[in-house]
């Protein structure tokens, strides 16, 4: 009868008996990818977090949804802001999944050793990508790379300095590159060029231009990627995972009870254009007007709604359920790599090479080559081109931070547009989630919050 005291769940699995074979490990890996679809990451908040504070986009109704988007727009973000909280939480939940797989996968029987290597590389890439986002948004962050056995052991550890986090990111990506395949076994899996491109971006952010150039050139020379011939082909749902894409978080409509689509389209459509539209993260009219009239991207990347509001047309409208958008979220693509190469070469004072990479993007947009010739002039031209080419993909705020222009550009923008805001150094980091400061006092808040 005492047996009765040992009950096991019948509708869920127990980790002590899970992760014992390849199939279960693959399920755990799918969950790490699945976590990328979470609202705090590429399911909803990431592009808003990375663009609303910039001059690219704004929140149409700032007080809506508890003002979580509005606060980003007005630089009045409070530490209990749901975007701040959820992004942190979802990133660490995904990181933990990669930690679990990485700590156990070597003991799992895999039918194919190369497959196991690839999976390790995929997990390292995801971990590096998320730490890269965290460190850029919050600054110092807790660094955990081991499976959690007892969560109490994590109290009192505080946040690790930015440079330590970057060391981990570089280590993960460097280790991942040789493990990853050139061609994905399934669309959406991490490939070698994705890790190289991301590592290039990390080096660029750290202003290590030599290493950045090496990694970005490796992507260029891989022969795996090219620009699509027309802008409208890049984001077309029928054309997902095309040659231009290095890594995209996958979304699909009408699968798994309509739970694999994205709600971004609904949330980021101007109010009153579709059901439940919230007008969060709308491109400014200002930005729309920056596209030359002959720019092939105008009306394709960004277009005007019936209400006159510009909106991000890279997201395709769902056909049945409004929150079940079909568009993948592109994390890294070849156009970004080319523009990063242009920036790298320009900073290395190779202005001609820089202009050449920049013009590849301009040509595809139907524009003539850049008129800029000086290093400074090219710097501005590249920055502008990045805005026009990469709008809505979650780059602009990081670009401003990377190039050290955030304060100057934003304060000028506020003056030009009669917005009563001035930002200072502390606004360059987001607050640490209040819940984390509350839970563990060793997690200190960023200055100014």
């Amino acid at each position: 009868c005492k047996k009765e005291l040992y009950q096991n769940p019948s509708t869920s699995k127990d980790i002590s008996k899970f992760l014992s074979n390849q199939k279960e490990t693959e399920e755990y890996i799918a969950a790490a990818y699945g976590n990328l679809q979470s609202p705090g990451l590429y399911g909803l908040y990431f592009p808003a977090f990375a663009e609303i504070p910039s001059d690219n986009t704004f929140d149409e109704v700032p007080s809506n949804d508890n003002a979580v988007y509005g606060q980003l727009d007005k630089f009045s973000t409070i530490s209990s802001n749901d975007i701040v909280e959820t992004t942190w939480r979802d990133a660490y939940q995904a990181i933990q999944k990669t930690n679990v797989v990485l700590s156990r996968i070597d003991q799992i029987d895999y039918s194919d050793a190369a497959l196991r290597q690839s999976r390790k590389g995929e997990m390292m890439f995801i971990r590096a990508l998320l730490y890269f986002n965290l460190v850029r948004l919050y600054g110092d962050v807790p660094l955990v790379t081991a499976e959690t056995t007892d969560p109490n052991l994590l109290f009192g550890k505080g946040r690790q300095p930015v440079n330590e986090v970057y060391e981990q990111i570089k280590a993960d990506l460097t280790a991942a590159i040789p493990l990853l395949p050139n061609v994905p076994a399934q669309p959406g899996r991490v490939i070698k060029t994705a890790a190289q491109g991301l590592l290039g971006k990390v080096y660029l952010t750290l202003r290590d231009y030599t290493n950045a150039k090496a990694q970005l050139s490796a992507v260029l020379n891989s022969g795996k990627h090219s620009l699509m011939s027309r802008p409208q082909d890049v984001f077309a749902v029928a054309n997902e995972n095309n040659n231009e894409i290095l890594f995209a978080v996958q979304f699909t409509s009408g699968v798994n009870g309509n739970a694999e689509g994205s709600s971004m389209f609904q949330q980021y459509s101007p109010s009153a254009t579709v059901t439940g539209a919230k007008g969060h993260n709308l491109p400014t009219l200002n930005l729309y007007n920056l596209y030359a009239s002959n720019d092939l991207r105008k009306g394709v990347y960004v277009t005007l709604a019936s209400t006159g509001s510009p909106f991000d047309n890279k997201l395709t409208a769902p056909t049945t359920i409004i929150t079940d958008g079909p568009s993948d979220f592109v994390v890294l693509r070849y156009a970004d790599v080319l523009l990063m190469l242009a920036e790298t070469e320009n900073e290395l004072a190779n202005t001609a090479a820089a202009a050449q990479y920049l013009n590849m993007i301009r040509t595809r947009a139907g524009l003539t080559g850049t008129a800029a010739v000086s290093q400074a002039g090219l710097r501005d031209a590249i920055a502008l081109e990045r805005r026009l080419e990469l709008i809505g993909e979650g780059h602009r705020w990081f670009d401003l931070l990377r190039t050290g222009t955030a304060l100057q550009v934003m304060n000028q923008y506020f003056r030009d547009n009669n917005i009563q805001i001035t930002i200072d150094q502390h606004h360059l980091l987001m607050p640490v989630p209040q819940s984390q400061v509350n839970t563990d006092p060793s997690i200190k808040q960023n200055i100014g919050y």
């Binding site: 009868c1 005492k2 009765e4 005291l5 040992y6 009950q7 019948s10 509708t11 869920s12 699995k13 127990d14 980790i15 002590s16 899970f18 279960e24 399920e27 799918a30 969950a31 990818y33 976590n35 609202p39 109704v61 700032p62 007080s63 003002a67 007005k74 009045s76 409070i78 749901d82 959820t86 939480r89 979802d90 660490y92 939940q93 990181i95 999944k97 930690n99 969560p151 109490n152 994590l154 399934q186 669309p187 996958q250 699909t252 699968v255 798994n256 309509n258 694999e260 109010s271 009153a272 059901t275 007008g279 049945t320 009669n418 009563q420 819940s435 984390q436 509350n438 839970t439 563990d440």
Partner: protein, 1112 residues
Amino acid sequence: QNISLSERNAPFEEVISKLKKQSGYVFWYESKLLKQAPAVSISIRNGSLKQALDILFKGQPLDYSIVDNTVVINKKTSRLNPLPAMLNISGKVRDEKGLPLPNVTITVKGTQKGTITDKNGSFNVAASQNDVLVFSSIGYKKLEVKVISQTEMNVVLEMDQSQLNDVVVIGYGKQSREKVTDAITTVKGSALNQYSGSNFAQQLAGKAAGVIINDASAQPGTDPQIVIRGIGTLTAGRSPLIVVDGFPLSEGSSLNSINPQDIASIDVLKDAASAAIYGSRAANGVILITSKKSSGDKVSVSLDVYSGLQERNDKHQYADAYQSAQFLTEARDWAYVSKDPNNRNISDDRSTRIGKGAGLRELRLNYLQPYLDHQPGLTNTDWSDEVFRTAPMSSYNLAVSGGSCKTNFYVSANYFKQDGIVIENGLECYSGTIKMESKLSRMFTFALSINPSLNKGRYFSNNANNSNDLVSDITISYPFFPVYNADGSLAISQQIKTNTPEDGALAENPVALAKKIKNNLNDTRVFGNTSLSFEPLAGLKFKTLLGADIRSNFYDYFRPSDIGAYRAAAPQPASAIETNGHVYNYITENTVNYTKSFGLHDFDVLAGYTFQSENGASTILTGSGIPDNKIDNIAGASAYTAISDRYQWSQISYLARLQYAYANKYLLSATLRRDGSSRFGENNKWGNFPSVTAGYILSREAFFPKNKVVTFAKLRASWGSAGNNQIGSYSSKALIGSASANGANDYNFNYVFGNTLSPGFAATTTANNNLTWETKTSTDIGIDLAFFEKLNLTADYYHSVTKNLLLNVPVPEQSGFTNSIQNIGKVSNHGFEFELSASNLKAGAFRLGFNANLATNENKVLALAPGQTQIIQGAKSNFVTKVGGPVAALYGYNITGIYKTQEQINNSPHLTGTLVGDYLVADTNGDGLVDSRDQVSYGTYNPKFTYGFGANIAFRQFELNLAFNGIQGRKIYDLGLATLDESGEGFALPSLYYFQNRYHPVNNPDGIYAQPNLGNYSSARRLTHAANLFYYSGDYLRLRSAQLAYNLPDALTSKMKISHIRVYVSANNLFTWTKFRGYNPDATSNSVLTDGLSNANYPVARSFIFGANVIF
């Protein structure tokens, strides 16, 4: 008085007659007796009467006695009749008023033989000469009558004001009140049923010291929260264990399936010592429910019917259309201007505003001008009036009982229907009881009890979700829109469409939500048990019990396409949800009980073994792709998702108890329970729960001064420990799941590579093999006093510490988890309790009774997780559970005024982002900054003290009963008021109070609430949602029930062949004195850590009832 007699072989009667003459005494006898007596001889000179009688009666079969001047002659008793004759005694038992007393137990002293009086107070019992009949009934003094030769016995029982002879139900047994050494409060069924409702918990409010009933959502069918002696847990369940006739119900099972009219009494075990016998489930206290039994041999039929109306009775009030129009316009104007005061002007028209870059919420609502111009006769819908209504409630109860001397039964049927005071909402209960007890033989007794019920609820989720919860939807429903179109059809999505251009509140018509959405909840349940008792010797009893509780629930939800949702105008895709679930719970219980008295020692020993197990399963089906509304259930869908859940838990227990009394003065008892549970970690399956109590009845001591003031005094002390195991069935395991549990921001782990679905599974909880129950150890010291034999006072002091708290603690999220269930931390509770009662006091023709109780409670967190000093919860991070402080203290800013100029802001420390019209906040810590460190505690939902009092007054055929209950020292955070109605955001409707007290430089310059501001609503304003201004007092005093009854005179009823008729009018919650402006001063959330979080909680209704009770 000198007697001189000399007789030889004279007839006895003759001699007695001579004696009578000489003595002058009266002799009283049956002449037949004397005639039969043998002849006597006597020779006495100047002797006493007694000497003469002694000589005469020597050897006679007769006895005499002298009373005053009378000599009574009787047959001599047993000494001469070694075989006493069996007498068949019948009679009637009445109370002091002469009314027949049913249910009086009559036992032959020292035996198991006996009977019960029927509804007419009549009884029939077989007894021998010299037997003593004991008449006992709850509330009456025990009476012993010696059987001499009577065959008819008419007895009057005196009311027992001391109540000390009441039987108190304790765990696995009973005890007389005077011997109880624990803290147990008993409430009689008759006192409960003065409040008309679907469950006993509502009826218990204010009736027992230390028992708080929070009617947090008064939606019909929703169980109130029961809190006994404070909160000793943080994240495990807080409900007490409920035991119905010995069957422990599983936690969270609905209280509505227990028909309140079947309840004879409720005993609340408050201290850990009395509860310890229930082991790992008893830390929150135990409520023992005893249901009614057969009332005698003859068949008795009782019919109870009542019917009445309920109405809203709260202070929540909104501004009307004209006021709202002004408010919304002020909010939009100031939003526009405050963004750039130098460049923008209130008089800018729409196109100018757009030209200057105004956002949607900085434009005036274009349709409000007629309201601003005060045109009469415009649409002015009071949505509160549309959503709330006066609603009927009725109950029909029929109980039949009876039996023979071997078998008796009680059968009842009840139909209860309560429409909600919210439209389209209500509850219907059908329930029954079958109880039977049969003496199979001298040694064996068999008992059976079955309680089937069906509850049908027309329900809505009172969760402040504006797409479903019509009460919260009122807040954002503007009065400018009609309920119905001119053609009488429901006006659908009018507000959504009209408000879209300026992004006003996009709410669907709440009346349409109520009328169009199907939301049915059906619960079917059967619980009951059978038992067999074997009593081989007097005092030794073996009992084996088998019980089961079988529940099934069915939830049917359909949302048609022709209704909108929050921010989404109709048509919307229709959706359907169906939930099917069942729970099987069964128990076996084997006990042996031995009672023995010798000399002055009384022993009662109990030992037992129980096994209980429960398994349950549920399937939630969600349907989509519904092409039309023709099929209004899940069958109409074309795509489905299913969520399936199954669980099982088991518990094995051993229990033992020793009760000992010496000379009825010194009382001692000790219990031990050992529980094993499947819910806990592999390393911690078993726990022991001991208790010891002692009592001392001082008033029985010789040294205790005999007086008429203090007629009874008992000191008590108890110590015991009990557990709380209310966590999920598999909380000790690290479970792998396919979705996160992040609440609103949930996501699933599946992924699509290309378009191919790949199932994802990952850990969602952390493992804890050491997980075990939380243990509450409590000490209780009490005193029971009776004054004048009528007035009873009970006073207790208790102190408890709960350790190994089952805490779902927030953990650092870099662990990959947000929470983890652990046994950490300690909470203490202490308080005083007083209960005072008296009954049957006489004042002329009036008979009076009263009762009063008062309880204090203070809790304190002694420890949390290692390194953890506080747990902060709530949307505004304002519920703080800190080491050294109480559970869930409300923290917030101290608002001291309003900033009326920019200079004022610039010259004082202020919250970041403060705008003109925002709140001035005190720098409470004086560090020159205003930030989160300036938040201070404003109290807790857990009240400082609670009280209740009541009285009953009877005059001739009339009776008046009053019962009050009160809460003092409670704070409530109403999220709806703080963030919507009184936030001044200009999104929701303003409460009338906010409207009248808002600050506006022109229209209301002395206002105390921040200036309406919609589009520029600052972060500072959001932070001040957690502030003193929004922490409302939740104190109240409520006239919980008032009842006036008339008992028809017997003379009248007997003509109708009816034994009793009682008619009454009553009112529930007739008055509530409170300052709380929200819907419900009992409002709270389900989580202990956010206790006092209120948000559009369903209000408690006031009701007026007319009823009658007829006994045939």
